[in-house]
Symmetry: C2
Subunit: 215 residues, 2 copies
DNA sequence: GGTTCAAGGATTGTATCCAATCCTGAGTAG
DNA sequence: CTACTCAGGATTGGATACAATCCTTGAACC
């Protein structure tokens, strides 16, 4: 029996909340009224609160006793810190992963890069976000450091609120495609130093664009 | 995060559980039966589960649907990964913090180092663990990167289960004191490179000892 | 007009109760 | 003797009900 077979109300609500945050349906600063959300998802407040507590631990929402849960508002210093920590951790992941990459891994990465491009040209923002995440985490997971993957994932989650806005721009989507091509080239060459440089540039461009959005 | 002024049943239970884990009262692999714990803390199962969910998000306990919560068992690869991630993140913290350190910070660090030594000689393991954590996080917090502090804290928490065993040994306590002296010297000289080297050595010795314990 | 303060409703925190699932162990068949 | 089956209790997941706290609103007072 696998874990996924046990669908619990709390996990369903958690997934729904994640989606709502990622799509921008729930906007930063907004209060999450427990009764309304519970009714909307067709569950009681108990599993709803369970999901909210998980999101709080991840920093996606903030909690104030007797006042409630609110979607986290990312400040500019916050955003910059998230990307700085990503730089540190993803560099480590790349360093470890490159020597471990199998040909199958590289193949999978190339295919994901292609899927991103397709979604990008079609303007399918949701599909692009998903494929993009799969692309980057295929590389990160290749380092075979599960805790590292989890930490980086939580940092990605922290900026999910703004990701849909970022990919909404065709200019941004096009630049991302070019950067992914450079990243793939470094991966194919098994050159960790170059790869880390490309990843850093990739992130720098994103943080520059996002800085404008946050304000 | 909840204001300290408003103590909620869940937060009390959470603190108690943390203490019980840190002191080794709850041992790795052990099941946490909700009813018993709730009764022991004098609360219902609702706030207890709330605390358990927080600990699960932090990786201190694991959860299996319809089976319950268990104290996490740290595998050797896990332990090594935790310390490797700490090395990466704490090095970054040190790099950022050193130029920002005020004389007051250095003073506070020196005082904490002294407190650690006192507790070490007196064999007060609990006090030593607490002062040691305060010492290291005074340095880390000086980097003024709150998310970085949180990530590192979660990595420290992950090995809390074994910390009391580690500090139970007088040999270990004595070595730690010497290492802290070297760390303080590097801090006083505002030499980030030396400091990072000392911190790395400090951690390497700990992971070597802990590896033996895990097995 | 501005400030203080006290209801009352709105919202969250917690306890209690019921439902769903798991685990144990006795019994049975092979 | 071993493997399987299937109650019955033990334990967790979730819903409802109640208590504690907060927030708004409006009136009294300066």
């Amino acid at each position: 029996m696998s874990h996924a077979t046990h669908i619990t109300a709390g996990s369903v609500v958690l997934a729904e909340l994640r989606r709502a945050i990622a799509t921008g349906e729930l906007t930063p600063g907004q209060q999450l009224v427990q009764e309304s959300l519970a009714e909307r998802f067709g569950v009681s407040r108990v599993p709803l609160r369970e999901a909210l507590q998980v999101l709080e631990a991840e920093g996606q929402v903030v909690h104030q006793v007797h006042r409630g849960y609110f979607i986290t508002e990312l400040s500019l210093p916050d955003l910059i810190e998230v990307y700085r920590l990503r730089a540190v951790l993803e560099a480590e992941a790349a360093r470890v992963a490159v020597p471990l990459l199998t040909d199958d891994d590289v193949e999978a990465l190339a295919e994901l890069a292609a899927r991103i491009e397709d979604a990008s040209e079609a303007g399918e923002v949701g599909a692009m976000i998903e494929a993009n995440r799969a692309f980057h985490f295929t590389l990160i997971d290749a380092a075979a450091m599960p805790r590292l993957s989890r930490l980086v994932a939580s940092l990605w989650d922290a900026t999910d609120v703004y990701r849909s806005v970022y990919y909404g721009s065709a200019t941004n989507r096009e630049r991302v495609d070019h950067e992914h091509a450079s990243i793939m080239a470094a991966i194919r060459n098994r050159n960790a130093t170059t790869l880390i440089g490309e990843l850093d540039a990739h992130r720098e461009h994103a943080v520059a664009e996002l800085s404008a959005i946050v304000r």
